[in-house]
């Protein structure tokens, strides 16, 4: 199966695991949770925090079971702590 390279922009506490951005390969047709799985493989220390993160694309959250559309960059959003 073909793979594609997805760039992931990371914020806040996630940078300690992945820097400000990183990239992973996912299979064509994978859902956004495939990105999460690839990130766990990339740095197993992040396994604890990734389940609480959301993914945003084009400034909107996406459901993790949705297939990745044609975007090359996604934003990994840790739990909010504003206010």
């Amino acid at each position: 199966m073909d793979k594609k390279l997805i760039k992931i922009v990371c914020f806040a506490g996630l940078r300690k695991y992945f820097g400000s951005e990183t990239s992973v390969f996912v299979e064509d047709g994978a859902s956004y949770s495939g990105v999460i799985d690839a990130l766990k493989a990339l740095n197993p220390e992040a396994t604890e925090v990734l389940p609480s993160c959301r993914i945003a694309v084009n400034e909107a959250f996406v459901a993790l079971n949705e297939p990745i559309k044609n975007e090359n960059t996604i934003f990994l959003i840790p739990p909010s702590s504003g206010g």
Partner: protein, 155 residues
């Protein structure tokens, strides 16, 4: 950006813009930096955001509040960058004909902003360490919790 700023928040300016002869009740909430958190002494905070998305989400939250609570006006501005102790991190102002709507809408807005909007707090402690904040103690682990907000889970 309209709802995010790197400079000090000026209450009286925000309030003055807010004058509206239909509003019998104006409620202002100011979230301020405390000198301690969970027993540890805090020196200051720094806020970071996914800025375009945070700005857009605050805009949408305000629009929802205006229509749901029949407000005349609603404002929310969140600080980014370094905020000192007793400094203001976020301001929410709501104006309505009657006070119940102004209070309820104000709480609705700050709850949503804190729980949903991609803004993060970096706390710096007197012992030289720092930590990225969490508003919700329960999100690490199973993600199961009692709150009425919802974190989508990655698995």
């Amino acid at each position: 950006m309209k709802h995010l700023q790197y400079t000090d928040l000026n209450y009286s300016e925000l309030f003055d813009e807010f004058r509206n002869p239909n509003s019998g009740a104006v409620v202002l909430f100011s979230g301020e930096v405390r000198d301690n958190n969970k027993g540890r002494e805090v020196t200051h905070l720094e806020y970071e955001a996914y800025e375009p998305m945070a700005n857009k989400m605050i805009d949408e939250i305000l629009l929802e509040a205006v229509s749901r609570f029949n407000l005349n006006q609603a404002v929310c501005v969140h600080r980014l960058g370094r905020v000192e102790i007793s400094g203001c991190a976020v301001v929410v102002i709501t104006g309505a004909g009657h006070r119940k709507e102004a209070y309820d809408a104000n709480q609705f807005i700050i709850d949503k902003v804190k729980n949903e909007v991609p803004i993060w707090k970096h706390e710096f402690f007197t012992d030289g360490t720092s930590e990225w904040g969490q508003n919700c103690d329960c999100v690490i682990g199973t993600g199961e919790h009692e709150h009425d907000h919802h974190h989508e889970k990655a698995e």
